[in-house]
């Protein structure tokens, strides 16, 4: 298995380099100039000499091929450069945002698992009953509701309900504090986005759990287990659910990877200073170095999450071997 893991990790290197080269070229195809955005974005006057100085400072006055070679050489040395916008190392910029994105991703996934697996299972076991219909409506609601709307509504709901109860509107904090510094403040900020994200995420997973369970429950080995006289709870927990979880785990893995860098709207609605917001900001500002690093981070997260999911398959289904 270790050989398998090593091989998969090594395979990520060309993937990352290819993604880096592609995003390097694509970013330069977008019309615009980071120095112009920086100096002229406010609609005010600026000195043309400042524009030239800005180009020289961030190195965009060099020929593209030289910039590309500098960039690739930096990657080889694990030096992703400095943000063209802030002048800070891109690693510093990303690490400042990663904890909040990671926390929301983990909490969102926990919420999703807590909702999706029990409800999906119940829905499958009670197929075509009122319970099944209710769960399916709940799931479709989650898929159909845009997360920005849900986010805005949840904040407004909290404000209105708190105003109605206490006479003073209350809302969660809008600045992030790490959980180890102030757990209550941290969780009060993170809980609404986690529920907002988790609901949508749960809705998709719930439907997947339901259909996988329905399929597994019709398998021969489940019928055999029933014929042996095993109690229903044991059949579901030990035999059916574990096997039904294979596609659900795949989905959870993909969604988790997406949550790290893809929570653009949720991060904006809840004023979370996360990786998704940084991504949009970097593209809008045409910050090439930061965008390149973020794309590579996203690719790496997807690759490693997929690897983790593959390893989980082996635990869930002992017939799967890694060679």
């Amino acid at each position: 298995m270790y050989q398998y893991i090593a091989k998969r990790v090594l395979l990520t290197i060309p993937t990352l380099l290819g993604a880096a080269a592609l995003v390097f070229l694509l970013m330069r195809l977008i019309p615009g100039d980071i120095c112009l955005v920086r100096l002229g974005g406010g609609g005010g006057s600026f000195d043309p000499k400042a524009l030239i100085a800005c180009h020289a400072e961030i190195g965009v006055d060099k020929p593209t091929i030289v910039q590309f070679l500098d960039f690739m050489w930096g990657i080889v040395r694990f030096d992703f450069g400095t943000s063209m916008w802030s002048g800070k190392p891109v690693a510093t910029e990303i690490l400042a945002r990663l904890p909040i994105s990671l926390e929301i991703a983990i909490l969102g996934t926990a919420v999703a698992i807590a909702i999706a697996i029990p409800l999906g299972t119940i829905s499958a076991l009670r197929q075509n009953t009122w319970l099944d219909v209710a769960v399916r409506i709940f799931a479709i609601g989650g898929i159909a509701t845009p997360s920005f709307w849900l986010g805005i509504m949840s904040v407004l709901l909290v404000l209105d309900v708190s105003a109605a109860i206490t006479g003073t509107p209350w809302m969660p904090p809008i600045d992030y504090v790490p959980i180890w510094k102030d757990p209550i403040r941290n969780l009060s900020m993170a809980i609404l986005p986690a529920i907002t994200v988790g609901y949508r995420y749960a809705a998709v997973s719930m439907r997947m759990t339901r259909s996988a369970m329905l399929e597994v429950m019709r398998e021969d080995y489940v019928r055999t287990a029933r014929a042996k006289g095993l109690v229903a709870k044991l059949i579901v927990n030990r035999h059916a659910l574990k096997n039904a979880l294979l596609p659900v785990v795949t989905l959870l893995g993909i969604e988790f990877a997406f949550l790290i860098g893809g929570l653009v709207v949720t991060e904006q609605v809840f004023n979370l200073n996360g990786v998704g917001r940084l991504f949009v900001q970097a593209v809008q500002n045409q910050d090439y170095t930061l965008t390149q690093a973020l794309v590579m981070l996203t690719v790496a997260i997807f690759v490693f999450t997929n690897l983790l999911v593959d390893l989980l398959y082996g635990w869930l289904d002992p017939r799967i071997h890694f060679a």
Partner: protein, 527 residues
């Protein structure tokens, strides 16, 4: 009537020292942006940097913080008194306060002031100064002793003093600059009312009271937290939930109305005309806009007086004005404006003339594209209004709305027919501010791509004029040249600044620009 009108009127009418400031407390405010680039005020232009860093720094002079809506009330910050120019207006000699300390405990002297100003006006190799071009009149900056700074000008001009009140002109330590000219891009160390207490990248910046501050009794606050919050809905919710007291840049009329409805007397609102005007620019290099009749026809289609009434309900615009900020003594009166195309009070007559001009130029049934920026307030709203105004003379305009980068790029490369722009300045400095209408050969960020020797000649005379009455006459001549004779660019509605805040925030007064009066020294909390 709406309570905010009453509140604003009351605030405007209150004398500056009607209430005794209460010391203490921490102000939490928001900055409507995603963090700024570097921390160096000399280098940057976005207000996100200024709102985050101004409380840490001093300046030589400034717009009077107790009267910031005035366009010509400048007072000393680090100097001891405003100087009378000598040698025919060519020499300004400033005496610098003694006993001022930087936050690291070192003494601030005239050498620090001079070094900072030299960095702005004559930046050394490898240093970027965003506002270097604002000071073409400065010949030398001298610091003959510890308490004197002398500005020697190449020519006397009315534009010098307002330019000197630049809120970005932070005074840095000469000793620090001598060691590293880029130190202030990454660090904060000033002599302002607040000391730096921490920065969480892209999220928040914190300051604590500077006990050694040189303005007696100030600052009143123990400290501040400035939180970056780019979404307006988040900012509105945060004020409502009292997670933050205000956001200084300004909010839309709908946000103001929502907050006043929800919070009643717990919210107060300050409003002001904003030294930021919309500008409609036809590209003279593109047909048919090389024809002055077509450009003038488009200007004449616009009902600015009627538009102002409607748009102020939904957008951050309100006042009809010409090239100069409407609150300035050098601005055109309504009567003066009414003689220019785009400002005629009889809009039907004006549009009939516009149709005639288009017919004469062979440009009837014109279909064109207007470049605009993907910013709702007010670019897209004003752009959409203009599209409808042009339709009324038979011109079909579609908007090409793009992000800031491509918007600037297309204008700079001349790849557009019509464009919506803005002219946003800081301290009201009419002569310097209207310089942005100069032809592209002179001012590189003018995208009308026109030539006009007469306009340049008027500007030169205006720049060297020191009598305000004569300067006013020249500005009218310049305005007529830009809007009427050449029909180069049309200033449309001026921005309007609306700042709703928790009513416990006292002492702060709205100014003509979101760049001004941001050092927070005069703010106190009544709770």
């Amino acid at each position: 009537m709406r309570s905010w009108i009453l509140t604003a009127a009351l605030l405007a009418g209150l004398p500056a020292h009607a209430e005794t400031p209460k010391p203490g407390g921490t102000l939490t405010y928001m900055i409507a942006a995603d963090g700024g680039p570097s921390l160096d005020g000399h280098k940057e232009t976005t207000y996100a940097v200024l709102h985050a860093t101004a409380p840490f720094y001093s300046t030589l002079i400034r717009v009077n913080p107790d009267n910031p809506s005035s366009t010509d009330d400048f007072v000393c910050d680090l100097c001891t008194e405003m100087p009378q120019p000598t040698d025919g207006g060519l020499i300004f000699r400033f005496k610098i306060r003694q006993g001022v300390k930087f936050h690291d405990g070192s003494r601030l002297t005239a050498h620090d002031v001079a070094a900072s100003w030299r960095r702005i006006v004559f930046p050394p190799e490898g240093v970027s100064s965003a506002r270097e071009a604002v000071y073409p009149m400065v010949d030398k900056i001298e610091d003959p002793d510890d308490t004197t700074v002398v500005f020697k000008l190449k020519y006397a001009t009315l534009s010098f003093l307002p330019a000197l009140a630049d809120p970005w002109a932070f005074i840095y330590s000469k000793a620090v600059l001598d060691k590293d000219q880029h130190y202030y891009e990454r660090n904060i160390m000033g002599s302002g009312p607040f000391k730096y207490a921490g920065y969480e990248i892209g999220q928040a910046i914190h300051g604590v009271r500077n006990p050694d501050y040189y303005h007696p009794g100030q600052p009143y606050l123990d400290g501040f937290n400035a939180i970056f919050a780019p979404k307006q809905q988040t900012r509105v919710d945060a004020i409502r939930g009292d997670r933050a007291a205000l956001e200084f840049r300004g909010m839309s009329p709908t946000a103001r109305d929502q907050l006043t409805k929800d919070l009643g007397d717990k919210i107060s609102v300050q409003e002001s005309d904003w030294n930021c005007g919309n500008v409609f620019t036809p590209n003279h290099k593109r047909k048919p806009f090389d024809d002055v009749r077509v450009r003038r026809a488009l200007f004449m289609a616009v009902d600015q007086w009627g538009g102002a009434q409607a748009l102020q309900k939904i957008a951050i615009v309100r006042t009809v004005g010409g090239l100069v900020f409407p609150g300035s003594p050098l601005a055109a009166t309504k009567d003066e404006l009414s003689r220019l195309p785009g400002f005629h009070p009889d809009i039907e007559k004006s549009r009939a003339e516009a149709r005639r001009l288009l017919k004469e130029a062979g440009a009837e049934g014109l279909t064109v594209e207007m470049l605009n920026r993907n910013v709702d307030q007010p670019y897209i709203i004003v752009g959409t209004w203009l599209v409808d105004e042009f339709r009324k003379i038979g011109v079909t305009v579609t908007q090409n709305i793009v992000p800031t980068g491509p918007w600037l790029d297309k204008m700079r490369s001349g790849d557009f027919q019509l464009a919506m722009e803005a002219n946003c300045q800081m301290v009201v400095n009419p002569i310097a501010d209207v310089g942005r209408y100069l032809p592209h050969d002179i001012y590189k960020e003018n995208f009308a791509y026109h030539d006009d020797a007469k306009q340049v000649e008027i500007y030169e005379r205006m720049l060297h004029e020191t009598d305000p009455t004569k300067a006013r006459v020249l500005i009218r001549e310049y305005e007529k040249q830009v809007i009427d004779v050449g029909a180069h660019q049309l200033p449309t509605l001026w921005f309007y600044r609306i700042v709703p805040m928790r009513s416990y925030v006292k002492g702060w007064k709205v100014s003509t620009s979101h760049y001004l009066n941001q050092n927070l020294a005069n703010i106190w909390l009544d709770r």
